[in-house]
Symmetry: C2
Subunit: 302 residues, 2 copies
């Protein structure tokens, strides 16, 4: 089934202890789409400026990614520059230029409106809701990411949007901020009352935790010898997670567990190289092999 | 088979956001012994002062714990007071009084010297080595815990002791400090060159990771609704880990995985109440039930 993703498309300048890269294609929608496209058909909605050329468009070519929903606006694309600390578990934003993203009003092409799976990447919750309202019928599964900026500055709008969301995919600090509760299982119960029936907590180098009224599922981050750039890891996780579910077409409990694993698999590839480099080259056979490595990493017999 | 544990026996005054407790029995050897005794026969070596009375000794009574190796010295027992932050993931030491522990020179009762499993809890590495040298023959398995204090202040002695150790059980900061390497898999390879062939990395609320030349195994911390006191969680983990291996009697790869799970199970009980309270009441049937919950938390089918 098709996965529709709405979010930022950006240029990133990234410095990590492993090196640096200037103005490389990034943005949440980009990472989600590239990651999910290994599993299913993806439709992208976002906005880019004049600096987004045929070269950038080629990143999506030859994949199951429809880019009809990428709007072109006069001006420059969203630009972010950041620097990671020595341990790559914290980062400092050096520059954020919203540019054309500041006036982004997502418009769904008509042929996107029947997408069965919807991922609302981190943007203004009012815009996230507007996308949902443009769907012809409610998707089978709606997942949403957000961030501290919206939790602090647009909590009413966010909570209004959350009422329509099945799965909230956010990091542990955001879970705590949104729920006002440090303990993650108690935090999850508060979030269930806001709408989402499932919470996926991204914990960076510590993996991810799913909390569902009927079960919890934990998956570690894959221990890698060489992490070059954590940028986009969470979005890549979300892309693998949603892409896998869309490919399965059903959202039952075993599929949710596997989706967590494939999300983590994709995240583990993303961080191996700068920007999209590894995601652009990774093959589904490698994805499957690493999923088996995740099994070896976590499975035991009592 | 028998597990010999050498380490501190202390009184702890603990403040957490969930409450406080004064001068309750604690210390690494105490937590390890209580935890391991659910699985196997335990022999304790430590030192206590005049303040350690029949009341404290009763904590070990009725369990498979031999206390002949607890030396009584004139003066007071080791005393530690600490306060945890609101999230219970950091703590401030308010008081450390070594008291009789300052002159601790572990002496093994003759009937301890044939113990097949040895856990050297966090004490001066020279003393850890002296215990190993008192064994009649080399134990089947030797595991060691240490801390930043010794890595900084007695690195030569620690490295000398590590040459004789099979499994190093330390937290992630200590792994990084000892190896001079942030990346955990690379850090593990450096530690393998120091002697231990297996590294168990305790990550607190993020669980534990085993790195072995042939495999890695990750186990999460159990998501609990109510954590009251993290004191002793790492030692309780080590006790479950070593106790389970001693009970199995063999140290093969499936047993190492299960030992990681049982260590985590025991750690998850320890933090539910203050000090030793939960460990004193937990039953093996509850341990087994929680191990099955760990399986539900982590297992998936590709």
């Amino acid at each position: 089934m098709s996965l529709l993703v709405v979010g930022s498309i950006a240029f990133d300048s990234i410095e990590t202890p492993a090196g640096k890269v200037d103005r490389t294609l990034g943005g949440a929608a980009t990472y989600v789409a590239l990651s999910a496209s290994l599993f299913t058909d993806v439709r992208m909605v976002g906005v880019v400026g004049d600096d987004f050329t045929a070269k950038e468009l080629r990143v999506f070519a030859g994949r199951k990614i429809n880019t009809d929903g990428i709007e072109r606006a006069p001006g420059k694309s969203f630009f972010w520059a950041g620097r990671y600390n020595i341990n790559m578990n914290e980062r400092t934003t050096l520059t954020t230029e919203l540019n054309v993203f500041a006036n982004f009003r997502p418009q769904l092409p008509a042929h996107y409106a029947d997408s069965e799976f919807l991922f609302l990447a981190n943007i203004d919750p009012t815009l996230q809701l507007s996308v949902l309202n443009q769907m012809r019928r409610r998707p089978k599964l709606v997942a949403l990411d957000t961030m501290n900026f919206w939790i602090e500055g647009a909590l009413g709008e966010l909570r209004k949007t959350l009422r329509h969301v099945d799965i909230l995919v956010i990091n542990d600090d955001e879970v705590r901020q949104l729920s006002g509760e440090h303990n993650l299982t108690r935090a999850a119960r508060r979030i269930f009352q806001m709408g989402p029936k499932t919470l996926v907590i991204k914990r960076g180098e510590h993996g991810a935790l799913m909390v569902h009224p009927q079960f919890m599922f934990s998956v570690p981050a894959f221990p890698l010898d060489d992490v070059q750039d954590p940028t986009g890891a969470g979005d890549t996780f979300a892309g693998g997670f949603m892409g896998y579910l869309a490919r399965e077409g059903r959202v039952n409990l075993p599929a949710l567990r596997r989706a967590m694993v494939y999300g983590s698999v994709m995240g583990s590839f993303a961080v191996e190289r700068f920007g999209l480099d590894r995601l652009r080259s990774v093959k589904i056979s490698e994805v499957k092999a690493r999923a088996r490595h995740f099994a070896k990493l976590t499975q035991f017999e009592l």
